[in-house]
Structures are given as structure tokens and as C-alpha cells.
Symmetry: D3
Subunit: 338 residues, 6 copies
């Protein structure tokens, strides 16, 4: 029994012009026996050129990417581009509607179930649709994340590692072209179940972002992603260069997230950070304190950095449990750059 | 059947020295038939002087006040003070433990049930304990709030109105002495069910704060409250003046929150603010846009300011529903200042 | 401490013309510290004439009334009326948004908390707003119910009893003028905590409806309420008579719900009704059977009618527990009609 | 590690007579470490003849099938039949007990997890038991559905497609013999994960039904299924022909559900249908309107049919979200009938 | 607006013989608009004699009392008694059906809302029915508790204090006559909102029990309550003396629960008791240890007794939070016995 | 795409001495995007000797094993042992923190998902870590269970069957050496998805326990497991023999749990057991009664034993549903002992 996607759409991926529509993925639940999950999908196509797959809403509480993609969908004139854009600004629709990182339908994190399963629950089906239907059409994959409800990041672009140096270089060049204030290699501890890792395995050039967070919408991060998307489309020749000419690809400092980057909570309490994002810190310095509000006679517990670098992420909610990430330090990339 | 509080404590409110302990309020629930809610309470007393009641955790997800009160509890030497401090840093303990604005036990907002009810559910009992047991012992009431999970405020001190001009002046002078970067008259739309309104009715001098928010802990706001509490105790003569002499009581600009202050969401979607906190804005200007991520073909809805002033509060979570407060504008106080 | 409503609105109840707006009732919850519940309220006014208060959404899962009131709001030309309409089509807004009989905020049934309490939880505050602010402005109160998620009624109009025969007659005449297929005296077992009972105590002429149900929207019931509202406005002289002249006030048969009307489930299982709504039945006849699907070897339990009359209500969900109403029989009214 | 079913039963499938019992499937949960799910199973056997597997409760809120199967279990005299009936009237027992479409244990829809997995969660184990244990014993599979809580269908019998024309014809003939007022080919958008599709792959003759719905029990639909089951058993020679002779197998009109059949909600609101089930409609005609009760100034959104045919399904709950099925149109079958 | 109970029943409290029935209390909820809570109530009456009100299910997870009262209901021959028994074995029916201490409808603890409120939520209405309808008919009130889900008690009978020594003596004599292995004066920290405290204020003779617990059914405690009820009825002359003659009223040792009785958890963890129930312990001795399973390097925290006496209660669930009662020590009664 | 564990730890499994630390397993959820599950893991190693893997917290509400392992972790002097102990006292950390049998993250029972899946949800990942990382390092696997929240067992040690008689004998000898009051062969109905069955397939010598239960901590069972662990380590030569010499390996009576062992509830109600644990009973004797508290006129239902033996398990919560295990009888082992 070979399973294929049961998704359907009225959109013709090969037609020039702009089509704003939906991919309907059947979902039979108590509240709707024969209903669908209507995932918004837009194709903007004109003549020859690469296919760029632009994705937002991988996690449902990361908003800057979906907002900026919505603007592209409404504002881009098909005549102004060369190639094809496939834009899915709210790919994990149930999570986006809920404003949750994970799907309220099956509690799964879309970015941990790739390459997906057409016979699985809805989140696995979405992943399989991306892997089996969208990736084969695309040359470039852009996955726009923010920090989510639990953390606030320095607005930045993320490089997905690739085993092949030429592939890795394509990823780096594209990320640099995006033009974010900071550039970080993020491998998610080597987890192969993310959409970007899967896209690399499928041969696509990949660009990621981490844009502020806290479950909110950042004025500054929105400016970064709006400009970055234009830069990126110019980099791939889909849009003409901006009025300032082609974005510089002088390589900025590149950071990475190493296993020592994480400052983990060791107790249940309320975490007080000692530094703002972007500050330079060193291994062994205090990073913050866990306070015990229900027992104020108890002295707070101090947490320490384990790496040298700059504060890249701070936890948003004050409450912590053991294992929660309180701070993340980005360190200068030590690997070999192609 | 006259009801009295069933709370009990080993603390002797009349004894000199420092006593760190708990007030136990019985709560008979499924998980514990005969248990108690152990609300932390500390008394630090030395000789003559006013009684200052310092409260944190009125809402359970506002952390800077409780953290700073915990530091006072652990650090203050009784010999260094003149008078009595009654410190309840986590007054709504069930909410503090849950990290929620409202109580997980009865879903009530403590700051909307004053003066409370000894025969009501636990939150009403806590309010009644404050009203009937703690207020009669105190001269001054300090209620330390932050913005909570849903909003981020300009760190500020709040003046509770009082009908009697002399009483109003006492409140203003104390708030000014606290030394926050901004001072705002906040009347909660005239709701008499708050702890500060109830304290004013009981004749106490009252000081409030609104310190950052977003359900997190702010580095900057913590600095404000730590300094402010020392300033305030000096103002009342409980602590000697700081090394810089008595805190200035030169009156800063005083703001207020008028009925036109609120920018309310009109649709379900994701709100993009157009300004940062502290920015000057004017009635009629766009305040932000509500985006429809699940339907990107639909143009966003613009919201407008209805007052002139500065942005005092922004909503933290991106998701909004009709009626949610997106932004709050503080306008220069127009009433008569005593 | 005398409490008054903290609700506010931009609507001027005394101004001629049509104003479509909201009453904002503050609600401070975890998700929104300073937000409001925006209850839609429309005033349509022209010259002299009675004030008719039209309410829908008392229960949040009864849709025909709110739909028909929305149409009045959008369609009525103020110039065509004489008097004032105050229309609140979704009075229990949180319940309407949730599609639930009771409020998701405090789990209360609005129609069991009258006359309400300005210091209570949100549902009690809504009731108090109606009782203290809206009722004093109105001459007539129309409360549009359907059966709700749990039951399907014969579309009908409901007469609220009144101790004063003249008052009772006014109620009967108005209900008859509404022109529903069936007319029933409903006293909710004498409960004084409903909005209609409270309106009668306040001296208003009162009209109720029960329009289909099952948590859905009925094609037939919508036709009844659309026509009925026009008839009613004509009855009170707010609209001119319809093209067929004044609606007949020949009194139809009037039914009532007596204590014996209810067929109650006695076991946990699935109820099979033996009759459709509108069928004539007699005390002692089988009304239905409770089946035990998890234990099919057990014979079903038969329930019996306890009154003569016609089937007025059937339960919608198959599942029942002891005490659930399975069927309700309407019997010819036996009281004295004024 | 080859997994087999851990289910056990005292029933002897090869013994003549009637055995009413249970299949116990172990389920180790917090509330019962060593307990079982007792799925009711009855075998009625007499001499030679085909084995008919009769299933109800695939979805737990579809009641007419389980009720009628319970009556067969209690009423059929084994001496009156020729062959074997295996009756599982509440196959997804946890869902039946909960009255929910999907299982409360693992939130899975049984009819989307075939062929199941003995090592999976409980719903997958039930599917695997059916696939691996029950299907190999049976010649015919009857799966009795209703519309469920979310929709109300025209009471009808459903034909499962089969690639082999002879097999397809066997299915058609059996469905026709059932004698429902309407006959529809339903392929669930080609999903191979249903019990009926799996039974076809296993070579069984398959009959389905869709009997009313709304989460309730329909007087009319019960009459259809009671008569239909007798007709079907006569068709297969398990029961003698009814007193009116063998049921007619003159083929009625056969309908199908095409991809254009579904009228999908495009907004969040309350759906008003414009037609009753069974009405003839045409593509392009209005099907209904979505009303915005919380914002009555906004005009409703009209939805349109996309196919010619008759209204086969209407949604029961008034509330809709984008992607919900509001109406389904059955069109005359256009494929080749064997 | 004077509120009275809306409860109704077919039972005639003045009729001789045995009537097993229900009191129906209307409850209008989402799942059932016009339904009732059917509280089982039985009257067994014969000639002259006192009226004994026997109550179980005050808390819904305390089973020995309800089981024993059910046996009385089924087994007692009316001809064998003199007087009247009013038996309500599952007074808080929603809690009993849920198996929870508190009501699943409104989350209230019935034994903390007396004297109740006919206009309140369902639990308050039940209390008001007891206070206003049942207490005025009764001479004696028997309230059968066990420890509940959270604690296991030494099976015992409980004396409710009364200000009037003669009343207190009546209570003591009745409790002693019950014949439990242990007798304890329990005042619930002086809380006047219990059913027994309310009954005393109404002038009734009152008997309580605490029978094992842990949310289970105890073989031993059932034996105690079965025998005790017979003893009690004999004590009041409703039943003839048992075959062993009148139960002895030689006063056993009487214990009490003082404010120092409770060993409270101070940390979140798992509590290990060091003693079994019934063991003699002394103030200052270790009572148990709180273990930190998620952090096994941390040494456990020891808790100490604060009173001399015997272990009367141990907590059932291993998990504890600060404020949970871990152990309760019963000390010899130090008050004056009448 | 070959998946490997993403778990990481600072512990060096090959180093002599005692290392108390954690294995961090990444878990990306709404509340913490980049956090980990910190599973406590301790290695105590000295010189040559076998590797014993000691596991507690397989189910999160079984406390005696984790408590005793925590004591070993804190108390054992590495110098006193020969070999290596790998101690994971809270292996299913999320369940242990929640005090639930199953994981609150994915609702899975860890002991039903072996051998696990590195790409699955967190519980499957934990199982895979044990199977793929820990088992290959170990010679002996000790899995310490208690009865859990739903049942109370006779404190006992459990023998895992093994197909190879020599392997089976190793298991038996180790279990006997543990020295529990009772020894039972438990095969979990042949389910291969448990940790102990998986360990046997991996060739390890396996020891299990069932120590009291009810979700509490048993004074007696703690004594059994403390002594048993010392005995076991001595049996494998990791600790020197106790002061009483080597524990006896005279084989005690060995029991087993057969398919007839379980007394299953047949109705929803409250179960009254008729016997205490440890009592000898016979097939056909009454085991208990199910009472119907909400309907006391209905006589209770009696359940019967189906096997001869001793009562090994009784259900803790009084409430039962069909399929719940009420009692379990252990019968003398009838298989061949190696």
C-alpha cells in the first residue's frame, strides 16, 4: 500500500501570473468529519528563472516571516520577477491559527517530523507534502523562523550546514546576501528531522532566519525580514537588484551554536537574566539567577555561562523548570568555511 | 454567622527583629483535604516608626517586585531600620506558583475581588485577609505590579487617586520619591475592587508600580524597583537617606491613562505595532496593523491612536481578538494636582 | 462601597439615526490585562415611540435570533421606524464567540444569574448591565432563544408569566402578534433568575422565543423569527403594519410546560426517541429507549411520557446521563388567561 | 520482533449457536495499570454459509448502526440463520463510551489508521485486530456509519469502489440489496486507510452506510438500517427472504461524491444553510451564508455550490472555521458501472 | 426577590413505608439545557420517633458511607423501625459521579459553602437545600466521611463541638454509641461553613465519621460503618438494641486535632512517611522525608512532628507541594468534656 | 536517513569513581524551543566487575524504587564496589515530575514502546536511548516498579521469562537473591514492548519488582527494596556479602499471573473488595461487589475469582469502569523451572 498525499489544490504551479489560493489537506475530526486544513499557498511566476520556496509558520507563534510573506503575496507584481515563487506563509496552519509552536491537532512539532508520512497524523502529512510535492519543484528553500513564545533571539539569518562544501557555500552566500545583522550556523544539535536539513538532503539551497520572538511581533525584526527577502530574491536574480545595487556579499562574522552554548535551568523558579541580548560574555561568568518566590528566605541559585561569545537568545517567560534554556551564547564559527 | 479569617501564622507582628515565615490559609481540595496555602510573610521591625506593607505577586506573572522584595527580606538588617516592614512578596501564592495572572484555584483575579470575603473561594479569602488583617496594621501600602504576560509597560510608578487632596498628595509624594523613570496616575477605569483603591479607602498612603512585563524578568525594571524601594523606605524614614542624600521630590511630569488611551483590537489576527514603547504619538495616527496569516490575500486592518501622548504599553503576544488592548497611550495628567 | 457598571460605550442612546457600535466591559485576564469584552450594541431611533430592547445570544449556541437581529441592524432604515430599538444580538459575547450555552470565562449561565452583580464575574456583570442600564430605558424586552446544543424545539414563541393580569395580557398579546407556529407559557420552573422574569419584575412587556436548536441554524426557524420580528415591531407601532395588514391577534392554542412535561434519562446510555417533534402523545406511552452500546447483551430501558400533549422538545445528542431531559411534552395551558 | 495481537476472548468463532461476549485488548494507562478495553463481540453461527462481519461504532458518535446491531444480537435465533455473523457493534469502544468520533485515548480516527499496528497505540491495535484477525474469517464486511456530530446525511448506503469490476459489482449488488433510500459511491478522496478500503484490498464484499447524524439518533434512519440489515442478510442467504420475497436488486440511481462536492467555509462565523437535505441544487447557486455574530455591522459572506446534484450532507453545528464542510452535494455517478 | 429551592421530588416525607427516589435540582448547562441533578433520597418511616438525616457523598470520593447507606436503603424493613430515616447517600451527586472531592460543575467543596445559597451555583444550591429543607425536618444529622483521595485516616467517629454543653454532650454520646475504634473532636479549624457546624447551629444532634480513605474502599472501614449505623439507630431508639444489648456508652479515650497536629510539606517532592497510622509519636521526632527524584544528588528534607499523640492521618499520594498535609497527629482531648 | 540518539551527557561511563549527572535529551516544545529533558544518571565504577543497570521511574508514579536508588547514589562509596553501576532512578523524567504513569508530553506508556525510536516522540526516544545506548553497556538490568496509582501489589520481585533455560535460570536466581517476600513470574501477557522483555532479547540478566503502589510510598515496601538492592549487588559480586553472609538462594514458592488471574469490572460503579492482599482465594468465590451510588435502589453486582491462589493486587481507586482490573490472583507457577 503505497501512500501518496491526499492534498488537493486549484493552483496550477506551471502557470504564469499570480495565484493566491490554498492547498486543502483532508482532516477528519470530531468537529468536522469531512473537512480540510486549508493551507494558504501562492504561486507567482514569470518566464524563466529559479523556483524559490518561501515558508513561514513552521512554528505557529513566529510571526515576522508570515507577515512579510503576506506582504510579498499581496504586493509583488508578477511582471517584475523572473522565475517562480511558491509562498506558504502559514504552512503549519493549525499551529498558526492556535498561535502555538506545535500543532493543536496532534501536539507534534512540524520541524521534528521530517521527512513526514502521508499515512501519519496531520503534522506528519504536512511534512510529507513539503518533502514529496514542494521540494522537488524548488531550487531554493527559505524557512523563516523567529524565537517563538519561549525565547527572544538577536534578529539573524541562519546557515544550514551541508556536507558538500559547494552546497554549504551556496547556503552561506544566500544567507549573507539576505543581509541580517547577524549570521549564525545552526544545526539543531545535528537533528535530521528539520525542514531545512531535509531540504539540504534534497539538494536545495537553504536559507533560515531567527527573528526576535517572545511570541510577539518585533518592529525591528520586521524591518530585517522585509529587506532581507528583497535582497534574497535579488541574489537569485528573481528580482532586479535594489536601488543600492546588488547587496554586498562581503562575508560578515559568522557565529555558531555549540553544545556549550546553552545555559540550562537547574531548578524550578523564576530566572533573572543578568545581560541583554547582544552583550559579550565569557565562560564562567554568571548568566543569571533562579529566584524562589514562594520561599523568599531561600537564596537564589546562580547559573553560569559555559562559552565565550555574545548573548544570542534569552528566555522570555520568567518561570523555568530544570532543562529549560535560559540563555544561548553564539560563538565565532570555528569550522572550515568553504 | 460572622466570618473571620481562618488564616494562621507563627509570626508575631509586634516583635522586633526579622521573622521570615508563612501565613497558612486552609484550602480543602481534591488533592489535599486538609492542606493550606502557605503565603510567605516576613516582618522586619525595629523600634518606632511607620508600618510599611510591601506586596508583590498580586498577579502571579509579574516578577520584578517579588524578586526585589525577596532581596529585602534576605538582606535587610533589622537594626538598620526604624519602624516595621510587613513584606508579602507572593501574596497570591497559587497564581505565583502557576505563573499566571489569575488564580488557578478559582480563576479569579485577586485585584478585582477586594475587599474580599472570608467565606468565599481562596482568592476572595486572600483579599479579605489583606483588607481585614494587614491593612489595619499599616500606614503605607506598596503594591508592586509589572505588565504581566499580556503586556509590556514603560517601567513606571503609579499614583492611586484619592478623593481627599491631602491624601492624594501623600500618594503623589511617595510615588515621586520612589524615583521611577515615569509616573502615571492609574485608576483602573475607576474600579473600586483593586487592592490599592481599597487601601486608599482604608486611609493608607499608597504606592504602585508597573515594571516592564511580557511575563518575563527585565534587567532594567529590576534596577528601577531595587532603587525605588530603598528610596521609598528613606522617604518614610524607615531607612536613612541614601548616600546621595534624600531622593529628590521635585515633581516629574505626571501622566494619566484616560478612556481614550486604549487601542483595541477589532479583529482576530496578529497585531503588528508600529512604534516602540516611549515614542510620542498623536490621535489619528496609525498605531499598528492586524494581519490575517491564514488568509494572506486579505489586506491587514489598521488601528489608530485616539489620544496624544507617549506609548506606555504594548501588547506582548502577537495574537489578538476583538477587545484586546494592543497599545496604551499615556497622556499628560489634566486633573488638578494637590 | 456602591458598585456601578464599569461598561462604557460611544453610543448615544438619545440620538436619532442608526448607531452600530459596542459596549465595552473591562475584563482583566491572563491573556489581556487591560482588555474589554466588546458587546455589540446598536441603537436605531426615530422620533417618538416605544423603546424595544431586542436581545440575542443570551446563550451562545442559539443562532437564529442573533442572525435575524444582525439583519435588522444592517437593513432597517431609521426613517422607517417610530421609536427606538436597542439591539444586543450577542449579549453574552464570550459564550457566542465560543458557541457555548455558558460563558467560557466563568462557566456561568447568564440566564441564571439575574439581576446580576457589578462586582461579580463577567457574566454577572453583563446581567447587571442589562438590569440596571438597559431595562430602565426600555418598554419592551424581546429575548430570542433557540433550543441550544442539547435540544431541538418546535419553533415557537414563549410567554413569560406575570402576576398582574394586565401585564400578563400585554405579554400574551405581544407573543401572539409575533406569529410563531406555536405559543407556549414557559416559567423555567419558576426560576426568578432569568432575564425575562427580571424584565417582568421591572415592568417591561416581555416576548420570548424558542427556535429549533441542536446548536445549528434552522432554515425554517429563521423564516419564523425574521417574520416574527417584523410582526412584533408592527404590533408596537414601531414599524407600519405589513402589506397584509396588522398581524392577526386571534389567539392560537396556548401550551405550557408543566412539571410532568419532562422525560428524564434514568441511565447512562444512548437515547432513541420514538416520536418526532410535534407529534401528539399521552401519559404512559413509551417515549423512547436507552440503549447500552458497550454491553449489547443488555436490553434497552424504556422511558415513558408523564403528560398528554405534543412533543415540544427532543434531545439532540444521543448520549444521556441520569437527569438529562430526553423529551418535553407541551400541554394545553390550564391556567386562567387574562 | 514480530508483533501479534494481544487481544483475547472466550468466544469460540467456530462454535454453532450464539455467543455474546467481549474481546479484551490490554491497555495500560494511569487509571488502570493492567486493565483492558472490553470490545463487545458476538458470534451467531449455524451450519454452512457465508461469514458476515457486521461493524458499528467505527466512529463513536454514530448510533443507528450500533443500536440495530444490538437488536440483532439480542433478537436473532441462531437456528434461523445459515452461516456465521460476527457482530462488533462498538468496535472503537473508547470512542463509543465517550460519544466522540475519535478515540479519547490517543485522539486517533480509527477509520484513518488501517491496516493498523499491533505495536501502536490502542486505536492502531484495534485496526490491526480487525485487519489481521477478523477480516481473514469473513466473506462480507458491513460498516455502519452515520454522519457523526458534525454533519447530517441523507440516510443512505455507500458503495466502496473496487479495482476489479467483478468485485465492484458484488459491492454494488449488496448495497442495492440493503434497500436504502439513496445509494452513493464514496471513496473518501481515495484514502486507503479506511476499514472498507482495507476490506476490499483483502477481497471481502463490502457494504457501507451513512445514516443521518448530528450526534443524535434518527427515528427515520433507524427504520432504514433495521430493514436494511435484514435485507442484506437475505441477499447473502444467511436469512431467508423477507415476507415480501427477495429484496429488489433493480438498480436505483447511483450518486457519487466528487472533488467539487464540498462547500467549504472560508471564514470563522456561523453558517446559515439555504437548503434542506435532499434538495436539488446547481453549481454557482448560493449554498448559504456565514454570519459574524460578534460584529453584526459586517455583512455575511455567501458560499456557492460547485456541483450539480442534490444536497447530501449539511453541517450540524452552526459555528464554522475555514475548511469546515458546510454542505456536500451528491452528483449522479459518472463512472462506468459493472 | 426572595429565593427558594427549585428542587422537586415525588417523595412524601410524611408517609409511612419506604420510598426510594430522587430530589431533582434543575441545572441548565451546555450539555443539557433543561436537565436536573437527580440526587438520590430515601425516606423510611414508621410511626413515632425521631427523624435521623443520614448523609453520604458530601465529598464524592469517600465511599464507605454511601455504600453502607445504600445497604440500609435496600435492606431495612420499615416495619422494623420507629421514627423516620431520611437517607441521602450521594448528596453531592456530581462529585460522586465524578469520584472527586469537589464538584466538577463549579469546582466547589460542598463542605465549605454552608449554609448555601438558592441563587448560587449548584453546590451552593445543594447546601441550601440541606440547610433550609432537610435540617428543619430532622433531629439528628449523621455525615459520613472518609479520608478522600488525598489521605488515609484511622477509621473513626468525629464529634462536632457545640457551644452549649448539653448539646455537646448529646453529640458526644451519639458518637460514642456509634462504636468506632477511635473518637476524635474535629472542628475543621473552626470553619463554620461545614454541614456539621451548620447542623449544630440549627440545633441538631450531630455525628460524623472519618473512615479510611485514599479514594478507595476499605474492608475494615466498611465493617466499622455498617456496625456503627446500626448502633446509632439503636442509640436513638429507631432500631431495637442489637442482640448484644444496647451498645456500650462507656466513654473511650477522646482525641482532638489541634493546630499543631499537621505535618506540612515544605518542598515539592515525594513524601516518605516514617510511621504507619495508629503509631504513637512525639513532637520533635522525624515524621518523614521529602525526596527529590528528579535530582537524586540532593539529600532529602526531613519533616518533624509538632505534637504528641498518635498518627491519625497519612497522605496517600507520594507527590507533595508546600502546604500539603503529610501526616496528622491526634492528641488526647484537652478541653472540658460535658 | 539513519537516526541516532540526540541525547548528550557530561558523564564518562568508563571513568572510575562516582559521577552524579544528567543525560540531556532535546525536546522542542511551545514552552521551551531549545530545551532538554534532563534525565538523572549516575555512574559508580570501581575496577573490574559486571555492569548493573538500575532503573526507576519507568512509570512516574511508582516511588519506592526511585527513592532507594537515590539513596544508593548518595550513599555508596565507589571504593566499596567492584564493577560498575549505571543508575537511572527517574528514567521517564516527564512522567516522574508529573507523578503520572504515562508521559504528560506524548501520553505514551514508556513500558509499551520498546525498543523505541530515535525519530519518535520523547517517550520513544527515551526507550531507544535505553535500548541502543544503555543496554549494550550492561550485563544486568534491574527495573524497579510498584503498583502505580491504580493498584496496590504485594511487595514482590518479578521474574522475566526467557526462552533460553540458562537465561531464564539467571533471571530466577537473581530475583530470588533479591529476597522479596514473594516472587512472581510476570510476562505482561507476552507483550514484547516492555523494557524487561527487550533487555532479555538483548541478552541481559533481568530483575523486576512490584512494590506496593496506590501512588504512594509504602514504609514496608521501602524496607524490601532497600534490602533487596544490597542483596542483589552482593549476588553479582559488586558489593561484598552482607553481615549475615550471602543471601540465601533457596528457592521460595514461585507464583505466576495467568490469563485467568484478573477480576475485571463489568459495570461502571464503585468496587468493594472482599479480601485483603495476601489472602488465599479460589475460583468461583466472590471477589467483590460493584455498588451504584447514584442509584442506591439498585443491588450491587458481584464479581468472582476465576483462579485459585492468593490475592496479589487490589485496585486502589474505588471507581471502576468495565475492563478495569479490580483484583489479580497469583497462582503457583505451573511451567517448568530451569
Amino acid at each position: 500500500m503505497k501512500l501518496v498525499s491526499t492534498a488537493s489544490t486549484d493552483i496550477d504551479f506551471e502557470k504564469d501570473g499570480k495565484q493566491i489560493g490554498f492547498v486543502n489537506l483532508p482532516l477528519s475530526v470530531h468537529e468536522d468529519a469531512w473537512g480540510v486544513v486549508p493551507i494558504p499557498l501562492t504561486v507567482i511566476k514569470n518566464g524563466k528563472g529559479p523556483t524559490i520556496l518561501l515558508q513561514g509558520g513552521n512554528h505557529g507563534d513566529e510571526y515576522e516571516g508570515p507577515i512579510a510573506l503576506g506582504e510579498l503575496i499581496r504586493d509583488l507584481d508578477p511582471a517584475s520577477i523572473a522565475g517562480r515563487l511558491i509562498i506558504v506563509p502559514a504552512i503549519n496552519l493549525p499551529a498558526v491559527v492556535a498561535g502555538r509552536r506545535t500543532s493543536p491537532v496532534d501536539d507534534l512539532n512540524l520541524n521534528r517530523v521530517f521527512p513526514g508520512d502521508h499515512g501519519g497524523t496531520i503534522t506528519a502529512q504536512i511534512a510529507a507534502y513539503i518533502s514529496d510535492v514542494l521540494f522537488p519543484m524548488a531550487d531554493v528553500f527559505v524557512d523563516l523562523h523567529s524565537g517563538g513564545s519561549s525565547s527572544v533571539n538577536v534578529p539573524s539569518a541562519a546557515i544550514e550546514p551541508a556536507a558538500d562544501p559547494a552546497h554549504f557555500k551556496r547556503n552561506i552566500d544566500a544567507v549573507v546576501a539576505f543581509g541580517a545583522p547577524m549570521v549564525v550556523v545552526i544545526s539543531n544539535r545535528g537533528d535530521p528531522r528539520t525542514s531545512t536539513a531535509t531540504a539540504v538532503r534534497a539538494g536545495l539551497t537553504v536559507v533560515g532566519t531567527e527573528l526576535a520572538g517572545g511570541g510577539g511581533v518585533s518592529v525591528e525584526a520586521l524591518a530585517v525580514v522585509r529587506r532581507g527577502l528583497r535582497n534574497l530574491l535579488a541574489h537569485f536574480g528573481v528580482l532586479p537588484p535594489g536601488k543600492d545595487g546588488p547587496p554586498s556579499i562581503t562575508r560578515p562574522d559568522i557565529y555558531e551554536i555549540t553544545p556549550d552554548a546553552y545555559v540550562l535551568a537547574t531548578e524550578t523558579g523564576v530566572f533573572e537574566p543578568l545581560h541583554l541580548n547582544g552583550v559579550e560574555v565569557h565562560a564562567g561568568e554568571p548568566a543569571g539567577r533562579i529566584h524562589f518566590l514562594a520561599n523568599p528566605g531561600r537564596a537564589p541559585e546562580t547559573l553560569y555561562y559555559r562559552a565565550d561569545g555574545i548573548v544570542y537568545v534569552r528566555r522570555q517567560p520568567g518561570q523555568v523548570r530544570p532543562g529549560n534554556v535560559c540563555m544561548v551564547v553564539a560563538t565565532p564559527y570555528r569550522g572550515q568555511l568553504p
